[in-house]
Symmetry: C2
Subunit: 410 residues, 2 copies
C-alpha cells in the first residue's frame, strides 16, 4: 500500500447507506501486511441472488474458478475477500485453500458451502495460509454490521492509495432501492499486487439470471473500458448481490421495463467505481479520457481507443505533459482497424492539434501546453470513416509506475 | 541522441568490407540536430535489384508509401535516409517532400526518379524541410565511397546510443559474396525518435522477386521477433539491395538450392542487427530472451512470447531484478492462446522457478537472484501442450524509458 494518496483521488468518500440484508466486518488476519486489516466478510440474508463477471485470463486464480462454479447455484450467503495473497497459480493447494475458507465461512454464517463466494488479491504463486481465517471468520460473522462498507473497502486494498466506494438509489416499481459498491485497483492489473476486485450490493429483488445480464451489460462501458497498463489479472472479479429485502415486486427478466431506472443507477455505480480505479492507476498523475469517433463501428472504435490507451509511448508523453499527437497516429495505425491517415483529426483538451493528415496550422501551442498541465486530459480522435464511437479511461505512465512494479519485491 | 552508450552494446564495431557497386556518403543537413550528420546517400551501380518489407501500420509515413510504390520497378540506383524528421503524418507536404528529394537525388546520381528509395526517422507530424537536401545530395553523390558504412550507420541514429552494423560472407555457386547491413532502433518504436530502419547490401546477383522472398522469410525470426514496447512505428523499413557485381550466376528463384549458404548468411546479418536493436532499447539495462515451448503451434508460441515480452509488469519486474514468475503466468493467461495453468513451468536464467501450476519447491532463491543481476536474462516457459516453440528478444522497462519518452519534447 502506497503512503501517498493519488493526486487524482476524489475529494470525499461517499456516506454509504445501509442495505437491508447485508452486513460486513473486517479483521487483521496477518496474511501478509502487518498492522492493517486484510480480510473482510460480508453476510447476506437468505434469498440473496448473486451474479458475477471475471477475468478473461486463460490462467485464472483458484477463487475465480471457485466463484464461477458456485454461480450455478444462484444464491449467496457469504463473501470472503482477503488482500495480501491472490491464491493464484497455487495448484492443488489453492483449490484446497478455497474449499477450506468456504467451509469455515459456511460454519460461521450457518449456510451451505456452495453459498460462499471468495476473492483474493495480492502476491501470485505463494500458498494462501487459509488457516489464518479459522479463528477470524466466526468472530466476523458475529461482529458484522450494516455500516461496514468503508472499512471493507479499506481491507481489500493492495497498492491502492484510497478506498473506492460508490452508492446510488433508484425507483423500482414505485419502491426506492439502494445500490452500494466498493472496489480495488490499481494496476489493471499488476497481478503481484493490484488485481481489480469489485463488489456491488442491492436490496432490489432481482433474480440471478436477470442480475447476471444487467452486470454483463453494465461492465461493457465501465470496467471493460478502463485500462491501466494493458495487463490482465488472473483474478479480476466483479460480483453483485441482491438481497431482495426491498418491498418491490421480484424481477425475473433483465429487460423488464420496470428495471430501467435500476439499470441506470447500477451502471452509474459501476462507472464511478471503474473511474476511481483509473484515478488510482499505479503511479498515475493524469486521468486520461480517450474518445474515438468516426470509426466504422463501436467495436472498431473500442479497439483503437484501447490501442491508444495501452501505448507506452502515448502514456509517457502524457506523463511529460506533451501533446504528442504523432504517437496517437502511431497507436491508431497499429490497432489494425480501418483508418485513413489523411482523414484523421486529433484533439487534446478540446484543442484540435491535427487535422486531415497533418498538424493543424491554427493550433495554439500555449493553450495546448496549459491543457496538458491539468490533472485530467481529454484526448479525442476523429477518424472520419463512419458513425462508430467509444470512450475509454486510462492514466499516464510515470517513473513511479516503474518504481512500484520494479522495486516492490526486490 | 543519448549521451550514454547502452550497457548492452556490443564490445566492438565490425570492420565493414567494401561491396562492389555500393558507395555511401553522409552530411549534416541541419534537419533537426546541431553538430551531427543527419543525411546519408547510398549510390548503386546499374543493375541493382531491390526488395523491402515495411511497417504494418495503417498510417504509414510518406517514405514508406514512396518505397512500396517504387518496389514494382525492382531496380535501385540511390537510397536517401535522413534522421531528425520522420516525414510521417505530414499530408500532401509529405508526399511532395518525397518527390522533391527523389528528384534531386536522381539528378545528382544520374538515374530515374523511380530508382530512388527513401527513408526518414525522427519527429512525426512536422513538415520535412526537404529543400535542405538540395545543396547536399549533389556533393554526396561525388564524395560517396565504398568505405562509408560506419558513418552511414551513425548518420541515421536518433535515440540510438551506438551505431548498429553487421557483415557476413557466403559462397554462391563457388563465388564468395558479401552482405553488409546497418540499422537503427531504438524504441521499436518510438515514433517521435526511434523508428526501426535497416538496410542490407550485397554483391550477390539475385533477382528482385527472389530477394523479396528471402527478405520476407528472413524477418520472421529476426526483426519480427524483437519488441521493445509493443508500439509500432509508422516508418519501419527494411530494404535490401543486390548489386550483382560478384562473378556468380544470377539467381532468379528464392528456393534455388545454390542460395542456401547465402540465405543463412543473410539471416545471420538480420539476426545480428535485430539483436542490436533490442540491446539498444530505450532505457534498456537487460537484454531478455523469451523462449516458449510446448505450445500448440509456432504461431501460438509467438503470440504468448510477445504477450510476455510486451507486458509492462514483466518488463518492470526484470528491471527490478525480480524473478516474478507470477507476472509471467499473467502474461501467458492474457495472450488468449491455449494454456493450462496446471501444466506451466517457468525458468529464469536456466533455473526452474515454477512447475506444474505452482512454485517449484526446489528452487534456490539465491541462485535465481544472482541470475537476475546479469545483463542478459533468459526466460523460458514450457506449456506442456504440444510441439510449438518460438523465441523473441526484448529488454526491460526502466525509469529511463519513461524519462526518454516523457521528457523529450517537454
Amino acid at each position: 500500500m502506497s503512503s501517498t494518496i493519488s493526486p487524482l483521488a476524489p475529494k470525499t468518500i461517499p456516506d454509504m447507506p445501509v442495505i437491508a440484508g447485508v452486513r460486513l466486518a473486517t479483521a487483521a488476519a496477518g496474511i501478509r501486511y502487518p498492522d492493517r486489516t486484510d480480510v473482510m466478510l460480508a453476510v447476506f440474508d437468505e434469498g440473496t441472488s448473486v451474479a458475477g463477471v471475471f477475468t478473461r485470463s486463460k490462467c485464472p486464480s483458484a477463487p475465480v474458478e471457485w466463484c464461477r462454479a458456485r454461480l450455478k447455484g444462484a444464491r449467496a450467503r457469504a463473501l470472503v475477500v482477503n488482500s495480501g495473497n491472490a491464491n493464484a497459480f497455487t495448484g492443488k493447494n489453492g483449490r484446497e485453500a478455497c474449499a477450506f475458507t468456504a467451509k469455515i465461512a459456511a460454519a460461521a454464517v450457518g449456510c451451505k458451502i456452495a453459498e460462499v463466494f471468495l476473492a483474493s488479491t495480492g502476491v501470485i504463486g505463494e500458498p494462501l495460509p487459509a488457516q489464518a481465517f479459522d479463528g477470524v471468520l466466526p468472530r466476523l460473522a458475529i461482529e458484522a454490521t450494516a455500516n461496514g462498507y468503508t472499512d471493507a473497502a479499506a481491507a481489500i486494498m493492495t497498492t491502492d492509495t484510497f478506498p473506492k466506494l460508490a452508492t446510488a438509489r433508484a425507483r423500482l416499481a414505485g419502491t426506492e432501492v439502494t445500490i452500494n459498491g466498493f472496489a480495488k485497483g490499481a494496476g489493471m492489473i499488476a497481478p503481484d499486487m493490484a488485481t481489480m476486485l469489485a463488489f456491488v450490493f442491492t436490496d432490489a429483488p432481482i433474480a440471478a439470471p436477470a442480475l447476471q445480464t444487467l452486470l454483463r451489460e453494465g461492465v461493457t462501458d465501465t470496467f471493460n473500458a478502463v485500462t491501466i497498463d494493458g495487463d490482465t489479472s488472473t483474478s479480476d472479479t466483479l460480483l453483485a448481490f441482491a438481497t431482495g429485502a426491498a418491498r418491490a415486486p421480484r424481477i425475473a427478466r433483465a429487460h423488464d421495463p420496470r428495471l430501467t431506472p435500476f439499470r441506470k443507477a447500477l451502471n452509474s455505480v459501476l462507472a464511478d467505481l471503474s473511474e476511481q480505479v483509473a484515478r488510482d492507476g499505479e503511479g498515475a498523475r493524469k486521468l486520461v479520457e480517450i474518445t474515438v469517433e468516426g470509426a466504422v463501428s463501436k467495436a472498431s472504435a473500442r479497439r483503437i481507443a484501447l490501442s491508444i490507451a495501452n501505448s507506452p509511448l502515448v502514456k509517457t508523453a502524457i506523463a511529460g505533459e506533451d501533446a504528442n499527437w504523432g504517437r496517437v497516429v502511431m497507436a491508431v495505425g497499429k490497432a489494425g482497424e480501418p483508418a485513413d491517415r489523411d482523414r484523421l483529426s486529433i484533439w487534446f483538451g478540446g484543442i484540435r492539434v491535427a487535422h486531415k493528415g497533418a498538424r493543424d496550422p491554427a493550433y495554439d501551442e500555449a493553450a495546448v501546453s496549459a491543457a496538458m498541465q491539468k490533472p485530467e486530459i481529454a484526448l479525442k480522435v476523429a477518424l472520419g470513416l463512419g458513425k462508430g464511437h467509444d470512450r475509454v479511461l486510462t492514466c499516464d505512465l510515470t517513473k513511479e509506475y516503474v518504481a512500484i512494479n520494479g522495486d516492490y519485491r526486490s
